[in-house]
Amino acid sequence: MNCDLLRGERVRLTARNAATDAPLLAQWSYDSEYLRLSDAGPARLYSLAQIQEYLEKESAAENPHAFFFAIRTLAEERVIGDIELDGIRWTHGDAFVGISIGERALWSQGYGSDALRVILRFAFDELNLHRVSLNTFEYNPRAIRAYLKCGFQIEGRQRRALNRNGKRWDVIYMGILRAEWANSAR
């Protein structure tokens, strides 16, 4: 039995820490490409105090339908992004995963895929979920490739659901079932 459930090969998932993570989130938010890859809403900026208060409330709330983590490199113990399971539907065994790597210099180096594998193990072995879902955007092919590599399948697309730079893009829904995960990624 794996006793270090939150540890991967290159990263581990830890609690988010409002005091030390808020400055990182504030810094990442100035990269509006990061914001657009992470969220369908309009890019906007928050003050350091606002971000800190948001993170404090998030951890104090102990939301029974969500788990939020910071992604930390094993090598340097450095926080490089965040990952969460959100919208957990306990009766149906379904949840949505969201991930973003804020440190642009570390994109496409396997940190995100490693964090995804850790959170899938957490979702299936600890939370006993039946499936894990996500949605991503047509203009983010790097993310789609990473999700496919981790065993997610494309389950459909909401046509023209986003409007960016005057162009319309699909929102892509993906999912992985417990059985698929057990057969392959484990």
Partner: protein, 184 residues
């Protein structure tokens, strides 16, 4: 210009009346068939005063992320069903639509179809949205046909995402684009 957005031939869309509709809505929260059609949340019966509080709280928010409607017969006050546009996203021009006629004996009379036409028209002609989403599951083929008849297209099938009565069902997400509405 046709500006009667809330008046159909059979039904009309009105605001919910938190006090007067509470008894009826409380009764509906005990009806698994209806509640399952509207939501993936587990059935949770609510007393009339709780239903009333929830509606009052929602109505105090004058710039809401969702708009709620009552469906009533054109010339009567009683409540046939409810409808809402939720997750209003103004920058992308989208919203999620929910609609249901509660009592089985009121179904099949065209009320739901007319309410859906009014609501879709409202979303595109008044709110100027670009697309709408409706979510159902394949344990409810009637609902899928209902939305398809109104021009919605099946877009996403979230496999085995719904667990009911010991079986796994796919969650089905349908969408309609503004161009598809104009064409119809």
């Amino acid at each position: 210009m046709h500006t009667q957005l809330f008046q159909g031939n059979l039904i009309r869309l009105t605001a919910l009346d938190a006090a007067r509709d509470a008894e009826t809505e409380s009764r509906w929260t005990h009806d698994a068939e209806f509640m399952r059609a509207l939501s993936a949340e587990p059935l949770r019966p609510l007393a009339p005063n709780i239903v009333r509080q929830k509606r009052e709280t929602a109505q105090k928010d004058l710039k809401p992320q969702h708009l709620q409607f009552a469906i009533r017969p054109r010339a009567e006050e009683r409540l046939l069903g409810v409808a809402q546009l939720a997750r209003l996203d103004w920058t992308n021009g989208s919203a999620w639509l929910t609609l249901g006629i509660a009592d089985a004996c009121e179904r099949g009379k065209g009320y739901g179809g007319e309410a859906l036409r009014l609501l879709v028209n409202y979303a595109f002609a008044e709110l100027n949205l670009q697309r709408l989403v409706a979510v159902t599951a394949d344990d409810n083929p009637r609902a899928i046909r209902f939305f398809e008849r109104a021009g919605f297209v099946s877009e996403v099938r979230r496999r085995q995402a719904i667990h009911r009565d010991g079986k796994r069902w796919d969650a089905v997400m349908l969408g309609i684009l503004r161009e598809e509405w104009s064409a119809g």
